[in-house]
């Protein structure tokens, strides 16, 4: 009895990690495929697994889509020669990739990805740990990701990684402010006085049953979206890597599996960012704005809700990739001035405006 209470969460956690890591690797594939389509290329289409790859039509189709490519990529990272430059600080050099990946994996603990109806008829979230301060937890932990980059840059003992790390840390701090301010109105709305959910993401999703917050608070959504791009170090904000001027940025001195970890961490961040945006602004697993969920209360309905949530996340990931291959990189000073001079005042203004709006709504609605 007691064993089950301990083992079940561990089993859940392991399952979630494997699914999440799988998503990461297929995000890499998606990135490669989408970029190739945008550039009129073919993309990865040669990797073929034995057996599955030789099923007549399906095998060719899967190979053409590059479905087996992530396995090849991963194996390549694993089997490459492990090179450690002589001039690095070994301890932090090895620590950095782990520090980069760990926060991204940790944040998913509080991420609700579906809902089920418990025997008592109450709607419960599918989440590893449904804690009251979910959003705060995510903000707090994901900020730790910058440590991985700073450590990598510093321990590499090389100028380009160092520059990349400095840029990255400055950028993350700058955009975290705007990000935090942008989601305050969201919780002001969802965690109204008397609500039992507080800062948990489940509450935000539940509050979007009728109306998605992206419609209700478009400005918050925009600021949050831009900040997420910056936080994940994605183009047009990839100051940390910026291969045209910094060779490879913070991971210049990294190779093989250590580089692989950084690579996976980036996509883990992308997935987390997408999931957060879906939770906060795109209604989570809620079907469509103004429409009641079509799925039933049984287990099948729970699965459907998870799938619908995933579909939205995939769309966001696709959007991330789409933007990356569309927009050019900002100059570093432009990144800073956008963060401090535009997004921050805008977020403050947005907060004031929404405060007044909610106050007015509360006053006149009752």
């Amino acid at each position: 009895m007691d064993y089950i209470a301990i083992l079940l969460p561990i089993a859940f956690a392991l399952t979630m990690i494997s699914v999440f890591m799988g998503l990461c690797s297929y995000s890499v594939l998606a990135e490669r495929k989408v970029s190739s389509w945008i550039q009129g290329r073919v993309g990865p289409n040669r990797t073929r697994l034995p057996l599955i790859g030789h099923i007549p039509i399906l095998g060719n189709l899967l190979t053409g889509l590059g479905i087996f490519q992530p396995a090849a990529d991963g194996l390549k990272f694993l089997f490459k020669e492990e090179i450690t430059p002589g001039h690095v600080n070994k301890f932090y050099y090895y620590l950095a990739p782990v520090v980069a990946l760990a926060p991204a994996l940790t944040t998913m603990v509080v991420l609700p990805f579906g809902r089920y109806v418990d025997p008592s008829g109450v709607v419960q979230p599918l989440v590893l740990a449904n804690i009251e301060i979910g959003m705060l937890f995510i903000l707090g932990i994901s900020s730790l990701g910058v440590y991985g980059i700073v450590l990598a840059g510093w321990s590499s003992n090389s100028k380009y990684p160092f520059l990349g790390a400095i840029r990255s840390s400055a950028q993350m701090i700058s955009y975290e402010l705007a990000m935090g301010l942008a989601i305050l109105p969201v919780f002001m709305w969802s965690a109204a006085p008397g609500s039992e959910h507080g800062m948990s993401l489940f509450g935000v999703i539940e509050s979007q049953k009728t109306l998605w917050l992206v419609i209700w608070q478009p400005l918050s959504a925009l600021i949050f979206l831009v900040a997420v791009f910056a936080e994940t170090n994605r183009l047009p904000f990839d100051m940390a890597e910026s291969e045209t001027d910094l060779v490879g940025g913070f991971h210049t001195e990294y190779g093989c599996f250590k580089f692989g970890l950084f690579f996976v961490a980036e996509y883990a961040h992308v997935i987390m960012g997408s999931a957060l945006f879906v939770c906060l602004f795109l209604g989570g697993w809620n079907f469509l704005p103004g429409l009641a969920d079509p799925w039933s209360d049984n287990t099948f309905g729970a699965v459907l809700s998870v799938l619908w949530f995933m579909a939205k996340v995939f769309f966001m990931i696709f959007f991330f990739i789409w933007v990356r291959w569309t927009l050019p990189r900002f100059r570093y000073d432009q990144v800073m001035s956008l963060g401090w001079k535009i997004l921050l005042p805008l977020a403050i203004g947005n907060l004031v405006f929404n405060t007044l709006l909610i106050a007015a709504y509360d006053h006149f609605a009752q």
Binding site: V34, S36, W37, I38, Q39, G40, R41, V42, W322, V323, W325, T326, L327
Partner: protein, 182 residues
């Protein structure tokens, strides 16, 4: 000094200042290209179609009767800018090849060093016998420097036979046999 004309830059509208319309236009463009046909050629499986005037690897050709056209005049060796061509001229043995004896001269050795060749096509242009052609072979590789030197045999293998409009030496032989001898 030339007059400089200063063109005032049009002030940005509010929408332009937010960059959002531009970003959306960009997304539209890339979105569209996502559904266009790929232009990548899957090289070893698919081969590009080579136009007739393509300048590939220089080769030696034979006339439709299978006779070698080169008479080793060495003009290509002379004109070759990177000095890639090396010819050892030789005399045709009249007894061994009586049907070709009237040409008198043929290359004993004909080497083109493909590590030096710059595919300029001057050899083809200068050849008075239309014996050397830059044809459609464009991928050339070897494991050693020696392998990258095409010798006479390799050059004829690559070149094959091309139609000859003139049959210069055949006409000459006909004239020798039936012409205005005294």
């Amino acid at each position: 000094m030339a007059k400089t004309k200063v063109i005032e830059r049009k002030p940005l509208t509010f929408a332009e200042k937010t960059f959002i319309p531009q970003i959306l236009t960009g997304l539209k463009t890339t979105g569209k290209t996502m559904f266009q046909k790929n232009i990548t050629l899957q090289y070893p499986d698919e081969r590009p179609s080579i136009p007739d005037n393509y300048r590939g690897v220089p080769t030696l050709v034979k006339d439709p009767n299978g006779r070698e056209k080169c008479v080793s005049c060495q003009l290509c060796e002379f004109v070759c800018p990177p000095k890639a061509i090396r010819i050892t001229p030789g005399e045709i043995d009249a007894e061994a090849e009586p049907d070709r004896a009237h040409v008198e001269k043929a290359p004993k050795e004909f080497d083109i060093n493909m590590l030096r060749c710059i595919y300029c096509g001057l050899c083809q242009e200068v050849c008075p016998e239309e014996a050397i052609f830059l044809q459609d072979v464009f991928s050339l590789s070897g494991y050693s420097r020696d392998e990258m030197v095409n010798n006479k045999q390799k050059l004829y293998e690559l070149g094959g036979t091309l139609p000859d409009k003139h049959y210069k030496w055949d006409k000459k032989k006909a004239a020798e046999e039936h012409g205005n001898a005294h």
